[in-house]
Symmetry: C2
Subunit: 425 residues, 2 copies
């Protein structure tokens, strides 16, 4: 194993199988659309930050040099002003939404706040907000802020029985006529559990509650159908590859009389009249608030176009095949080494990452990155998340990653890593 | 005038004077730090969108290719995670704030919302919020949202008597023990009027109210001293040249027990613990909310470094000289053509842009851009804003811009422009 981390394992009996999967992969050519200057690196963190598309790199050069550097404020009228809506229209079919119902703006956290507060204003007198403990923590913080802004209420965090699977029945049991809003991550960030969106939405609607879905770990990789859904938000920098901290998207069902409670000039009907009175735009643009970070926003367009070209159906099919394959290999190779699967085994209930648990997870992750040239991410207390972004992760990557991890464990390369708690991982 | 818009006017008696000013300009060399591919273009809209620094162009190439493309999630631990605070520390001396009191995040509108709501929570029982009709409209919209979030209150918009000068006495007269917050633009967006920050702050403090200053048109061009000031926000893409829609900054006086009411994971004490409970960071980082748009954020650093190198004192001195010179030339050349000065004549009460009024302002602006190669901006109903960014606007630019405008008027080149109302200018 002196060559650990250096290239594939042609001696492995299973490598031929991985190669066969890759040869049959309808999306194989998309791998070359992404910049990758280290052929040995296996990047399994596209569920956190998607890779850089070559087209994005080219587009940003144009945006910076031409749109900003040369055309200057003229660019506001030549695409920048409508870029939030236009990017929303590009994303809409990818998330199963109709044109004109999606807009890009702010961060996911701020978008959640705006839609949650807006929803609570439509349900005066109802005091309960339902979510679960698998939700991304910032979503919970935001719900506290939104209920305070709306005049008070109780945010109830339903507990998962195993930390892996969504507490579907318990969420349903919590529903009554006092519930204003149910909000969950469609695919949860740690285990990758995939909620049945239709089931929860219908159950909430039966008691007159609204539903707000966080699609951060679904958008670009798990198909969704938002017809009948009230509200959704999501991140553009994971499977949509929009770049670090690229602005988030909001979906608002066009039939809802929802207003943006955090009104700003970008949501005004006639922003350049500089009215002292706020008059909301009639369309989805009213959910914009302040001036958009154009460079980060512009990066989304070419990236989302790649997802559209590949097709969300084909992406999901490959995602399921990749995660199935990873679980199969992990059962065979990693289980004997103390790893357990901390994601749903049923593909229909799983997004595009697989979490492994290991008592020494933090050190395993350090060794994987430093020596194995495999990049996962670590989530407290013992989770190793392996994100399989179908546009650039191959079956050979999955095979090699599993065997590199096994190699690290067998040679006990972990002993030199001493856990240091840090706010940054 | 066949050569209108093509180069300087060496035949003008005054051009030699402009050249003499430029020859004596201590900041003349900074002009070359900015990308400008059209030597004929006179860009007088740096008060709206600052020019692209060459250093920013280089830095962004590195951020995109290396930090995102190559180092991927590793970059979060190598500068991205702390970039909001680090950029805040870079801006702090430029706005007269102490290190650790400034952080960059979100848009100016969202930052205003967070600080205004936070301030109102510190003044329970007080129901009045004071601002003026010269404030940027989004600031007023946000105050409505913040008062609603805080449980109600009245936003009182004090009227300026002439639309140019701030209603200082009327603001002071409105102050009493029911006022929770006074918030104004330090330099107002239309006339460029510059408030006496100390006077208003002290008057507000006398009745126990807090003060929140919007420094959007001051930061990078008008020195401020925030000692004793409660709160401030501002824009980074005007005189700080941070790029289109670059995130905003917040200043919070370290002595205030202010919390961020819009809590998100980026303001958490230990964000990567993924606590279900929010625990705010002890430092200014707690005013961050969601994930930062890194490309737009990263653009601020090299731009702000140029401002720091030039020195805010020298920048202000040149700004005063430029605006004085513009007013002098406008009195002489443009007044006979129907233009009036709509900015304070006293330099101490003026920011770095000068507004002209003209009954045909909209058409004048179109002709200036299309034929004169002079870029101002138009503000309803009859304002032509001429922003003089001292780092790259020369005295010759001012001279030539005035004479080009005069040329357009004399030859009546306006008749072909028909006013079309548009939401985008």
């Amino acid at each position: 194993m002196a060559e650990l981390g250096m290239g594939p394992f042609p001696d492995s009996a299973g490598f031929a199988e991985a190669q066969a999967h890759d040869a049959a992969d309808a999306l194989a050519e998309f791998r070359s659309r992404f910049i990758s200057d280290d052929p040995e690196l296996i990047y399994l963190d596209g569920n956190s930050l998607g890779r850089l598309p070559a087209a994005t790199s080219d587009h940003l050069e144009e945006v910076i040099a031409q749109e900003w550097g040369s055309r200057l404020i003229g660019s506001w009228g030549e695409g920048w002003w409508t870029l939030g809506r236009d990017t929303g229209d590009l994303l809409a079919p990818l998330i199963g939404a109709e044109p004109g119902s999606v807009v890009v703006a702010d961060s996911t956290t701020v978008c959640l706040f705006k839609l949650a507060w807006g929803a609570l204003r439509l349900r005066p007198g109802r005091t309960r907000v339902i979510t679960d403990d698998l939700n991304f923590p910032t979503d919970l913080y935001v719900l506290e802020a939104a209920t305070e802004a709306a005049g008070g209420g109780d945010v109830e965090v339903i507990q998962s029985h195993d930390g892996i699977n969504g507490p579907v029945e318990a969420v349903e049991a919590a529903l009554d006529a006092d519930v204003a809003l149910v909000t969950l991550s469609h695919v949860v960030f740690k285990s990758g559990y995939l909620y049945d969106m239709r089931r929860i939405t219908e159950a909430a609607h039966e008691v007159g509650a609204m539903v707000l879905w966080d699609l951060s770990h679904s958008a670009g990789v798990v198909p969704t159908d938002l017809s009948g859904v009230d509200l959704a938000v999501g991140c553009t920098y994971k499977y949509l590859n929009g770049g670090p901290g690229a602005p988030a998207f909001m979906y608002v069902n066009p039939e809802l009389p929802l207003e943006n409670p955090l009104a700003g000039w970008w949501g005004h009907r006639r922003p350049f009249d500089f009215d002292l009175e706020y008059r909301p735009a009639a369309d989805i643009a009213r959910f914009q608030t302040g001036t958009m970070p154009i460079l980060s926003l512009a990066a989304i367009t070419p990236a989302a176009q790649i997802v559209a070209e590949a097709g969300i159906g084909r992406i999901r099919a490959k995602s399921v095949a990749l995660t199935d394959y990873l679980i199969e290999l992990a059962d065979e190779v990693l289980s004997p080494l103390g790893f357990t699967i901390a994601s749903p085994r049923e593909a229909a209930r799983r997004g595009s990452h697989v979490s492994l648990r290991h008592p020494d997870a933090w050190r395993v992750v350090q060794a994987m990155i430093d020596e194995g040239r495999v990049v996962p991410d670590f989530r407290e207390p013992d989770n190793i998340r392996l994100g399989l972004a179908p546009l650039y992760v191959s079956f050979a990557d999955v095979h090699n990653a599993v065997h590199r991890i096994a190699g690290l464990m067998r040679e006990d390369r972990l002993s030199k890593y001493r856990r240091q708690r840090s706010t940054v991982t």
